[in-house]
């Protein structure tokens, strides 16, 4: 297990987030962390987590195989996930998946021959109001269709990083795994990545345009009929 010092330091930083004696809670972030180094959950990664937490490799493996975001094979820099759950599917999600599968010549959970792009079909990604949706390393590309999604992966193939509709400018899957392990986004542009969109704002905009606001209130009115007891 030759993990660099930095990974060991990060592992320590993860452990202290949880109460003393409850370090096992660090396992999910630790698995994200080893994935940030290896590009998947390798045997070494499993051994590392087991060592850090003083649990068995079998215990770690039982957990890592339970969750779909932990990859069992080396994944590409770009994980392209296409939602094919019912709502997205009804709006063309399956067609998007099929088109990408043809274009990349891979099926679900497979990586292109050059090792760059991994394709997967995803379950509902909590963006049904933008159906059908695609994510790359979990950043959203909204309101997709076959043509737009082909354009997206062709750009990725050419080494470009198309800007997501919502989310941060793309970084690699290994880089994103550091954030999944609970470390801060270091790029200001990453934090500032757009989070708005027509569907998100649909109701609020409609209300604003129509001049509708919620009824006013007196923020100083007491919570209960009686006056506040002096707390502490």
């Amino acid at each position: 297990m030759n993990y660099p010092e930095k990974i060991r330091e990060q592992a320590e930083a993860i452990l202290v987030r949880y109460p003393e004696g409850r370090e096992r809670s660090a396992l999910l972030p630790l698995l994200h962390l080893v994935q940030s180094h290896d590009g998947y959950v390798s045997d070494d990664g499993i051994a590392f987590c087991a060592e850090v937490l003083s649990i068995t490799k079998a215990q770690v493996q039982a957990v890592s195989t339970f969750y779909t975001m932990y990859k069992r094979e080396p994944a590409g820099d770009w994980l392209v996930s296409v939602c094919t759950n019912t709502l997205c599917r009804s709006k063309g999600g399956q067609k998007v998946f099929d088109a990408l599968s043809d274009e990349l010549d891979v099926g679900h959970d497979e990586t292109t021959a050059d090792g760059k792009i991994t394709l997967e079909h995803a379950e509902c990604l909590a963006a049904c109001d933008y159906a059908p949706v695609v994510t790359v390393n979990y950043e959203f590309y909204d309101d997709m269709d076959e043509e737009k999604s082909l354009g997206l992966v062709r750009e990725l193939k050419e080494g470009r990083r198309p800007v997501p509709s919502r989310g941060a400018p793309l970084c690699t899957l290994r880089e994103i795994s550091v954030q999944l392990a609970g470390f801060d986004e270091e790029r200001t542009a990453g934090l500032e990545g757009n989070a708005q969109g027509d569907a998100t704002l649909a109701g609020a905009r409609l209300a604003a345009e129509a001049g509708i606001t919620a009824p006013a209130f007196d923020p100083t009115a007491p919570l209960l009929a009686k006056q506040p007891e002096e707390a502490k």
Binding site: R17, C124, A126, G203, P228
Partner: protein, 443 residues
């Protein structure tokens, strides 16, 4: 970002008047995720107000407001807080931000656009239940939400809203943002606790309930993102104000997440008890050439309703009366061009994939239902298949270890009730097969 509204006609006044922008209002301000902008927009005023009251008073106030949980079951929030025993042990607040129920898409936009409202709600709730640590279990895929929440925690800490002796009150709180790793079942509250403890996300036997034996076997309160993010608004506006925003027996506003065959899908925050007819009106009407056929009131685990339920007020009681569940108000709207049988097949594939495998009815039942649907949809269905589906549902409902198994039966049972003919059409050959028998066989 540019503010262009794709503009169908202006909705009718009666529908417009249902709009109540409270929780969603700050989403319009592009910088509201930053502390300075949040503070300009009333941020952290509710916390200052809440800290003037005792814990017990806050709980009484929440009960008084009639605020109910937004995670699907609609459990009264104040009551849940009260269940956490005041026994001197360590207590935890856990926020369920695992949003994974198909159709549901309201918590992610909230956390991305207004993360401080959740943090402020967490501080108030933790104070009320005397928790000194809170965890937000964020769905792994929701990376932009986690990113902004973590930033909000950092900013709040620097400003003295988190950490030791918050605003001089003597109250201490640490908040940890914890990303999951892709498993729908971890939204189920006890599976979430196991996952947060670093285990496989499998539901626990109840009782004991999390209120007394939750995270690390300590008293724990688990609330949905929407339940907690509403708290600062309620504290500022008052109990009566919150009640008046809703309708009779249904306090407050609700974010209806419209998806599917409407012109303008999206998040519409309205009085609790708005009807589908009004919601479709707000969304600019049905998509061109589409006629409403069925919809889910609150995600794929809530029984679908047919077009004749278009005037049911979508609140807890009225949706129950209509034979469904309000759930997460994830209103997925399907038309005459969508097939209920195909929809159910895809949902059941989802439940089969997400079943944690702990109990037999769910693990086996969903597996077999997928097989039956694939037989039907590849043109090899038999009359007995509908009975088979019904009996599978009978074995699941009430016999599963957790709500995932129960929820899986919702779409099957309700579609068989409303759209039996659509099933028969595949069996009798009136509808062409949509799946290829050869590829299905290869599974």
């Amino acid at each position: 970002m540019s503010v262009t509204v794709p503009g169908p006609r202006r909705p009718r006044e009666d529908a417009l008047n249902k709009l109540k922008p409270v929780i969603t209002k700050r989403w319009m301000s592009p910088g509201a995720w930053k502390l300075d902008v949040y503070e300009q927009l009333d941020g952290y005023k509710a916390l200052r107000k809440a800290l003037k009251y005792s814990e017990g008073d806050l709980i009484s106030f929440m009960k008084e407001s009639g605020h109910r949980g937004r995670g699907g079951a609609g459990f009264p929030v104040g009551m849940k807080w009260q269940f956490v025993p005041d026994d001197g042990q360590e207590h935890y607040l856990v926020v369920n931000a695992d949003e994974g129920e198909p159709g549901t898409c309201k918590d992610l936009p909230l956390m991305m656009n207004d993360p401080h409202s959740l943090i402020e709600g967490i501080i108030i709730a933790s104070y009320a239940i005397k928790a000194s640590r809170a965890f937000v279990y964020v769905r792994g895929e929701a990376i932009h939400a986690a990113r902004r929440l973590r930033n909000a925690v950092r900013e709040a800490k620097e400003a003295g809203y988190l950490g030791k002796d918050i605003l001089g009150s003597g109250f201490d709180l640490e908040v940890v943002i914890h990303s999951g790793a892709g498993a729908y079942i971890c939204g189920e509250e006890t599976a979430l606790l196991d996952s947060l403890e670093g285990k496989r996300g499998q539901p626990r036997l109840r009782p004991p309930f999390p209120a007394t034996h939750g995270l690390y076997n300590k008293p724990t309160c688990i609330n949905n993102v929407g339940s907690i993010a509403a708290v600062p608004h309620i504290v500022l506006g008052g109990a009566q104000w919150w009640k008046d925003l809703g309708s009779e027996n249904a306090a407050g506003t609700m974010i209806y997440s419209l998806s599917g065959r409407v012109k303008r899908p999206g998040q519409y925050e309205c009085s609790l008890g708005t009807t589908l007819r009004e919601l479709i009106e707000l969304a600019g009407g049905m998509e061109e050439g589409h006629e409403l056929k069925f919809f889910t009131p609150g995600g794929s685990s809530t029984p679908m309703l047919a077009a004749d339920s278009i005037d049911v007020p979508l609140d807890f009681d009225n949706v129950a009366k209509a034979g469904s569940i309000l759930g997460t108000t994830a209103v997925m709207i399907f038309s005459d061009q969508d097939c209920p049988v195909v929809s159910c097949w895809r949902w059941i594939k989802f439940y089969a994939h997400e079943s944690c495998g702990k109990c037999t009815p769910c693990r086996e039942g969903n597996y077999w239902m997928v097989r039956v649907y694939e037989r039907l949809l590849s043109g090899r269905g038999q009359m007995g298949d509908l009975k088979l589906l019904e009996s599978a549902c009978k074995n699941l409902l009430g016999r599963s270890f957790c709500g995932l198994g129960d929820g899986a039966t919702s779409c099957v049972t309700s579609s068989l009730k409303f759209f039996r003919q659509d099933y028969l059409d595949y069996i009798e050959g009136h509808k062409p097969a949509v799946l290829d028998a050869a590829t299905i066989g290869a599974h």
